[in-house]
Amino acid sequence: MSARYGMVIDLDRCTGCGACMIACASENNVPPAAPRATWRTGITPMLVHTLSNGKEGVDRREAFIPIACMQCEHETPCVSVCPQQAVELDKSTGIVMQMPQRCLGCRYCMTACPYHARYFNWWDPQWPPGMEHSLNPGVSVRMRGVVEKCNMCHARYHDALQKAAAAGKKKIDLADYVPACVEACPTGAIAFGNLADPNDPVTMAAKSPDAFRLLESIGTEPKIHYKTTQAWIRALADRNSGRPTEAQHV
C-alpha cells in the first residue's frame, strides 16, 4: 500500500522562532534573499505567519502558524493547471512534486494555489563568496524564472529509499525520513508521519478533536493538519466564522 506523508503542526507549541524556515532554506539550497526581495518576492517554502485575535491590551492573543505546501490529495489545484506536466502528485507518497527543469515559469500554478505556498525565482540564485560550500549536494539549485515549493525534503526521502534498498527492504523506515523543518523545530511542534497508516501517531493526532485543516471547505484534502486547544484560533481558521483579522509574517 502506498504511503500518504503528512504533518500535524501543534500551534499551541509553535513559538514562531522561524527555525523551520531556516532549516528548510538550508536543506533545500534556497539562496539568500536578493537585496530588493520582500516577503512577497522571497522564497520561503515554509513561512510562519503571525495570527492575532484583533483585540488590544490584555484581551489580545497571538499565535503562529507555519504554512508550507499542503500536498493536496483531491483535485490538487496546481497539478491540473500546469500546461507542461511539471507538477504531479506522486502516487506512492502523496507528495506533490515540482520539476523545475520542465517549468515554463508561467506561474499559473501559483495563481491556482489557495495557500500561496508556491514561489517564483524572481532573481538568479546567488550565494555570498564562500557560502556556496554550504550547499546541500543532494538538492539541485533552481534557476531564475521557475517555480518551486516544499517537496517534503525529497532528497531525504531518496536517502531513506537507498538505505532501505541497501538493507534489502521494500519500504523505508520512517525514522530515516524526517523533513528538515520537523527535525529543526525546538519545541517538537511539527510531527511528520504516514497518514495512510491508521496506527501512526500522526494519523491519530490528525483525527483528534483539536485538529483541523485550512480551507477544508474547498475540498482539496490537504495533508498538513493543525492542532490547537485555543478556540479563537479555530474560529479564525474557519472561513465561515466571520470576517478575517490581520496577519503578519515572521
Binding site: L51, P77, Q84, R102, L104, A112, P114, F120, R243
Partner: protein, 420 residues
C-alpha cells in the same frame, strides 16, 4: 518631391488618396518611439528577469495577463467577422473584413509577444507542445492561439500581396487568386479555434477551485466562464472594429465605410451583449448563492475591500453591459453615429472591466482566513512593454492602411484590377 517621397509614392496604389510622406512619418514618429521604449523594457525583463516587474508570489499574474485577455477579446472581431461573411454569408460586412484581419493579427501577435516576456523561461515555450497536459486550460489556450495566429497570418498574406509593387510579381498574383479560394476554409478553421481559445481563457480562471472568487461550475469539463468569455468576446469584437474604423475615418478625414455597416456591427454587438448580460446575471446569482457558499466563501469575502466593492459588479452589468446593448438595439439611438460609437466604447470598457475583475481582483482578494488584501501597481517596464504592443498595433494598421487596399473607398487602382 524628395526621393524618399517618390519611393513611398510608388508603393501606394495609383489614384489612392493618402497623406504626404512627411505627414505620415510625423504620425509614425511617436509610435515608433513608444515601440522602441517597449522593446527596451521587454529587453530588461529578458536580461534581468521578471524582478523588473512589480508582480510577486501573490500577484503571480499582473497587468500583462489582464491586457492580454482584453486584447484577445478585442481581436475577436477578426474571426467573428470572417465567420459572419464566409459562413453565415453576411456579405454586407465585407468592407471591414480586411480591417478585421489586421486588427486580429496585431492583437493576437501582440498578446503572444507579451506572453513570451511574461513567462520566466520563454525558451521552454515548446515544452507545452512536447509535454502537453491535456487537463490544463493553458494547454488549450496555447494550442489554439498558436494555430489561430497561423490562420491570421495566412489570411493577411492575400491582403498583403495586393500592394501595388507586390502585385507586379506574377507568382504573388497567382497565389492571391488561389488563396481567395482558401479563405472561407480559413474562416471556418479560425472560428473553430477562436471559439475554443476565447472560452479557454475564461476557463483559465473558472477552473481555479482554490480561488472561489473565480471558480465556477459549468457543463462537462468547462466552467461557465468558458461560455461567458466566448459570448463577451464575440460581442465586443464588432464594437472594437467599429471604433478602429471610426478612428481611421477621423484621422484620415475620409468616409471609409457606409453607415449601414456600423449599424449592422452595432446590432450584432447589441444582441450578443444582451444575451451575455442575461447569462452573466444568472451565472452571478448561481455563483453567489450556490457555488461560492459551498466552498465556504460568502459575498463579504469579495465585496468588502475597497475599491473592489459591488460597484464593480454593477458597473460591468448595467452601464457597461445593459446600456450599450440598448443603445445598439433600439432603432432611435442606433441611428445616431455618436451614440453608436459611445455604445461601442462602453462595450469595450465593460469587457476590459470584466477581464480586470477576473484577473487582478481574483488575486487581490484573500483566500486564507488570515490573509491580507493585497495591492499591486505595475512597474514602468510592464506599462512600457504593453505600450510597445499598442504602438506596434498602430504602426501595423497605419502601414496596412497606407499601402494596402483596406477599404473599397480608398483602394485606388487596385479596385479595377482583377485576374478574372
Amino acid at each position: 518631391m524628395s526621393e524618399t517621397a517618390l519611393i513611398d509614392r510608388r508603393w501606394i496604389a495609383r489614384d489612392a488618396e493618402r497623406a504626404s510622406t512627411a505627414r505620415f512619418l510625423l504620425w509614425l514618429f511617436p509610435w515608433v518611439c513608444l515601440l522602441l521604449l517597449g522593446i527596451y523594457a521587454a529587453g530588461l525583463c529578458f536580461y534581468y528577469g521578471l524582478n523588473q516587474t512589480n508582480m510577486d508570489n501573490r500577484f503571480a499574474f499582473g497587468m500583462w495577463i489582464f491586457l492580454d485577455l482584453s486584447i484577445i477579446a478585442m481581436g475577436a472581431g477578426a474571426f467573428f467577422t470572417g465567420f459572419l461573411v464566409y459562413i453565415l454569408k453576411q456579405t454586407d460586412l465585407k468592407p471591414v473584413l480586411n480591417t478585421a484581419v489586421v486588427v486580429g493579427l496585431t492583437c493576437y501577435s501582440g498578446a503572444v509577444a507579451v506572453l513570451m516576456v511574461d513567462v520566466g523561461q520563454p525558451l521552454r515555450a515548446w515544452f507545452t507542445f512536447w509535454y502537453p497536459n491535456t487537463h490544463s486550460m493553458l494547454t488549450e489556450v496555447t494550442f489554439c492561439i498558436s494555430c489561430y495566429l497561423l490562420v491570421l497570418i495566412l489570411e493577411y498574406i492575400p491582403v498583403l500581396v495586393q500592394n501595388r509593387q507586390l502585385r507586379r510579381v506574377p507568382s504573388f498574383l497567382v497565389f492571391e487568386h488561389q488563396a481567395h479560394k482558401l479563405v472561407p476554409v480559413l474562416a471556418g478553421v479560425g472560428a473553430f479555434l477562436s471559439f475554443f481559445h476565447q472560452g479557454s481563457l475564461g476557463g483559465l480562471y473558472g477552473v481555479l477551485r482554490g480561488r472561489p472568487f473565480a471558480y465556477r461550475q459549468g457543463f462537462a469539463i468547462w466552467p461557465s466562464t468558458f461560455f461567458l468569455f466566448i459570448l463577451s468576446a464575440i460581442a465586443v469584437g464588432p464594437s472594437f472594429l467599429m471604433l478602429v474604423v471610426a478612428a481611421a475615418e477621423k484621422i484620415t478625414g475620409q468616409t471609409l465605410v457606409d453607415f449601414r455597416v456600423y449599424r449592422k456591427l452595432g446590432f450584432i454587438s447589441g444582441v450578443l451583449l444582451a444575451i451575455y448580460v442575461a447569462a452573466k446575471a444568472i451565472d452571478t446569482y448561481v455563483w453567489l448563492n450556490v457555488t461560492s457558499p459551498r466552498l465556504g466563501f460568502g459575498p463579504w469575502d469579495y465585496y468588502s475591500y475597497w475599491p473592489f466593492s459591488s460597484t464593480f459588479l454593477f458597473a460591468a452589468t448595467v452601464p457597461l453591459g445593459l446600456l450599450p446593448a440598448i443603445l445598439f438595439i433600439v432603432p432611435r439611438t442606433a441611428r445616431h453615429r455618436g451614440l453608436l460609437l459611445l455604445a461601442a466604447a462602453l462595450t469595450c470598457c465593460g469587457v476590459l472591466l470584466n477581464r480586470f475583475v477576473m484577473t487582478v481582483q481574483t488575486l487581490a482578494l484573500p483566500t486564507l482566513p488570515f490573509d491580507p488584501f493585497l495591492k499591486y501597481i505595475p512597474s514602468w517596464q510592464e506599462v512600457a512593454t504593453f505600450g510597445g504592443v499598442l504602438a506596434y498595433g498602430v504602426i501595423v494598421y497605419s502601414l496596412s492602411y497606407r499601402y494596402l487596399p483596406m477599404f473599397e473607398a480608398t483602394k485606388g487602382e487596385a479596385k479595377n484590377v482583377s485576374l478574372d
